[in-house]
Amino acid sequence: MSHLLFIAASYGVSLLGLGLLTGWILLSYRREQRMLRELEARGLRRRARAAAPARTATEGDTVVRVK
């Protein structure tokens, strides 16, 4: 195979570059997930989530009205 070194270098650099990019994106995602969990464990909730009821009745649910 001619120019094998150039072909191997191209694929090697690409594998390294895309591997680092993927690793960085996944690690950043895990870090943000962990930080959000820690904040929620301290009792902090987003306003929308804190204001919402535990579960909203959906179609098909039996709703009992208490007078």
């Binding site: 001619s2 120019h3 191209s10 650099v13 994106i25 943000e32």
Partner: protein, 243 residues
């Protein structure tokens, strides 16, 4: 309506969580098929086995331009509708687009040395591709330099739209100027000039890398949404501590 419904961070998180495993699996399958086809393909009559670099170099070039085009469309969403998801999409695309553009330049240099006898030449296609990489890096630096995320998003959107002029220059540089880089051979009037034995592996690899781009972009967008939630909660915690 379904598309409009999706343009909301909560719905996007739920939708992308369901879609991501399939996207990741499709990326791996299509890339594996693409590389298998690429290494089965015959050598080119002029380039020999060095044509194998084209199976990664060409998709990287397409995706470098694809990423920037996506950011330009997001910029319209930021400036016209001030949509938070457009800002998230814009920010998440920059490092991915920059990586693909940088890899396009590196693999192109590694192809150029044995084929042209040089790693680099200040030819219109190569130079405009380098400008594209500098635009990506400049946009990331601009966002990092402005503390207010809304102002940073708007400034980045304006710069993205100004810089978008470079995308057609990259594409048509080989037609407008006399360049060392070969003219368009896949997407051109009159059809592709590449033999199908080389074209199909190239298109399969391009499809695989496009799926990879979309998958990484989706994870990047999810990360940015979570990051903004973390920042909002930290700001609230700090305000409550002061009160």
């Amino acid at each position: 309506m379904p598309l409009l419904d999706l343009a909301n961070p909560v719905r996007f998180l739920s939708f992308s969580a369901r879609l991501l495993p399939y996207l990741a699996a499709a990326t791996l399958l299509v890339l594996a098929a693409g590389f298998w086809l690429a290494f089965q393909a015959p050598p080119d009559y002029q380039q020999g086995e060095t044509v194998k670099i084209m199976y990664i170099h060409v998709p990287f070039a397409w995706l470098g331009m694809f990423g920037y085009t996506m950011m330009a469309l997001s910029s319209i969403g930021i400036l016209v509708w001030r949509h938070p998801l457009a800002d998230v999409a814009h920010k998440a695309a920059a490092p991915i687009g920059a990586t693909f553009t940088a890899l396009c330049l590196i693999t192109g240099s590694l192809w150029g040395r044995p084929m042209w006898g040089t790693y680099w030449v200040w030819d219109a296609r190569l130079t405009s591709m380098l400008v594209l990489l500098l635009l990506y890096l400049g946009l990331m630096a601009l966002r990092a330099a402005i503390e207010d995320p809304n102002r940073a998003g708007r400034a980045a959107a304006v710069l993205t739209l100004v810089g978008f002029i470079n995308v057609p220059i990259v594409k048509f540089s080989v037609d407008w100027w006399n360049t060392l880089h070969q003219p368009a051979s896949v997407f051109r009037m009159g059809g592709s000039t590449i033999d199908s034995s080389l074209l199909w592996p190239l298109l399969t690899c391009a499809a695989g890398f496009t799926l990879m781009f979309v998958t990484l972009h989706m994870v990047g967008m999810r990360t940015e949404i979570l990051h903004r939630r973390v920042q909002a909660l930290e700001a609230r915690a700090a305000a409550e501590a002061l009160a």
